[in-house]
């Protein structure tokens, strides 16, 4: 009797790419829900526009280039959702959609699709929107009160409770620190990400803030830093491989964020800081390699 033959291993871990992406989507749900609760319908529409545009762009590209359709891995949805959550609730819908299309097309698919991009698509799209339409990207609305626009959500002081519940002006998903932390807990509990990058990024921001004489905790709690540390910097594709490289990367992200906030001409530096570190990831991976069993460190480098 002939038997069925295949390569070992004959068991596989139940965690698939789709499962990981689903974990991220689930982790984003609290922050998104809080954003919609705080800012109302406009916020929901922005989220829908960016998510739908991301998914559609991916679908269209894969169909047009005759590649296997992989929208079901949910990675485009994650990108769209992440982008939407970093936009102000007052952002025009066409802008959210254009950003998502840019993220998927230029930053991700041009490089070969999932796993090939060297820069975080959602963040690159946000940076693109920031420099393309600065006015629309910085019109922050306070929740509840009608259309009190403030230029920078960093400058003001808010009560801790407001900060945690997201009762402050800011981007849809970045305002409620509590919900972001809930997402972090979920990601850690499902071991979707490790604590290395978020922790080192917050540490880098605290240390730099302290060195510059600012209130370290205030630095961490303001703007999009916490959201980016949990959801953006931890993107698998654009962060270094697990190990000491991730600590270095996180510290760099945090430090650069604070430096850009204090010395740069854009009010919030976290976007550009992580993008800059993304560009450095290949070099970090080059410099820091794990030691191979039975080899002395550095032995292999020719």
């Amino acid at each position: 009797m002939k038997f069925f033959v295949s390569n070992p291993p004959h068991v596989l871990s139940p965690v698939t790419t789709r499962r990981l992406m689903l974990n991220v989507v689930l982790a984003l749900v609290p922050a998104a829900a809080m954003g919609v609760y705080n800012f109302g319908l406009p916020a929901l529409l922005v989220l829908l526009a960016s998510s739908a545009a991301a998914v559609l762009t991916e679908l269209l590209w894969q169909a047009c280039t005759h590649k296997p359709l992989r929208v079901d891995d949910l990675s485009a949805l994650v990108t769209g959702l992440l982008l939407g959550l970093t936009l102000p609730p007052s952002a025009p819908l066409w802008m959210a959609a254009a950003g998502a299309a840019f993220a998927i097309l230029v930053v991700k698919q041009f490089f070969g699709g999932i796993g090939c991009n060297f820069m975080n698509p959602a963040l690159a799209a946000r940076a693109m929107l920031l420099i393309s339409w600065p006015a629309a990207m910085s019109g922050y609305v306070s929740p509840g009160a009608d259309a009190v626009s403030s230029a920078t959500p960093l400058a003001q002081n808010f009560g801790w409770l407001d900060l945690f519940m997201g009762k402050i002006p800011g981007s849809i998903g970045e305002v409620s620190k509590l919900m972001i932390l809930a997402g972090l807990v979920w990601l850690l509990a499902t071991s979707t990400i490790s604590i290395r990058i978020p922790l080192s990024m917050l540490a880098g921001a605290c240390l730099t803030g302290w060195a510059l004489g600012a209130n370290p905790l205030g630095e961490v709690m303001s703007g999009g830093l916490l959201f980016a540390a949990v959801f953006m910097a931890t993107d698998y594709v654009t962060s270094p491989r697990p190990g000491p490289g991730q600590w270095l990367y996180g510290l760099g992200c945090g430090a650069l964020t604070i430096l850009m906030r204090h010395f740069g001409s854009y009010p919030e530096g976290v976007t550009f800081a992580i993008l800059t570190m993304n560009a450095l990831v290949p070099l970090i991976d080059h410099a820091i390699r794990p030691r191979i069993y039975g080899h002395k460190r550095r032995e292999r480098h020719a």
């Binding site: 490089f111 070969g112 420099i131 010395f263 001409s265 993008l275 800059t276 993304n278």
Partner: protein
């Protein structure tokens, strides 16, 4: 005469925001060409040395010879001559020939045709306020160029393993990568004043 904040702005500008490659588009071809990090660093360093030397020489000629003699309209020709001079000096004393792997008799021609960073740096050196700033621009511009070459080589190593669409392979995707890096570096605008 020397303003600390201005020098700082110049350093940051040359290294990051006004990078020769990412925002001045001086040296796209060599910066985007090398796949191997080590080779990129080697070639980039050789070109950077020549560029810095050319900028210093050109700046010196401009401020100490052309300006006093009211011959500033010869700036471009002088800059090109400075590059030639810097190249021959570097070739003689630093053995850049081996670094660049040139074996062609018209190496200078080829080098300039490929790397406008050399002429660009030389022109920029002559455009500054005075010799010192010109020289600093040359040096930090060259360092920024080196940084760009190394960054791009790292990114290209990854792209080489990626499934880039056929039409975008090679230079187009490198240019788009450079554009994305330039996007990231915009965050540094405003540094140093």
């Amino acid at each position: 005469m020397i303003d600390g904040a201005k020098v700082l702005a110049l350093v940051f500008g040359c290294l990051l925001t006004d990078n020769f490659v990412f925002s001045r588009f001086f040296a796209e071809r060599s910066a985007l060409a090398e796949n191997k990090l080590s080779a990129a660093a080697r070639i980039g360093a050789a070109v950077a040395v020549i560029a810095a030397a050319a900028a210093i020489v050109s700046s010196a000629l401009y401020f100490f010879v052309l300006s006093p003699l009211k011959l500033t309209y010869l700036g471009t020709v002088t800059a090109v001559l400075s590059v030639a001079g810097a190249y021959y000096l570097a070739e003689r004393f630093l053995k850049v020939k081996e670094l660049l792997r040139f074996d062609h008799p018209t190496a200078l021609h080829a080098l300039i045709a490929v790397d406008s960073v050399l002429v660009g740096a030389a022109l920029l050196g002559a455009q500054a306020e005075n010799f010192l700033y010109g020289a600093l621009t040359g040096i930090f511009g060259a360092l920024g160029f080196l940084l760009a070459v190394v960054l791009m080589a790292g990114v290209r190593e990854r792209i080489a393993l990626s499934d880039v669409p056929e039409g975008l392979k090679g230079l187009p995707i490198s240019l788009i990568s450079a554009g994305l890096i330039a996007l990231a570096l915009i965050g540094f605008s405003g540094f140093g004043g």
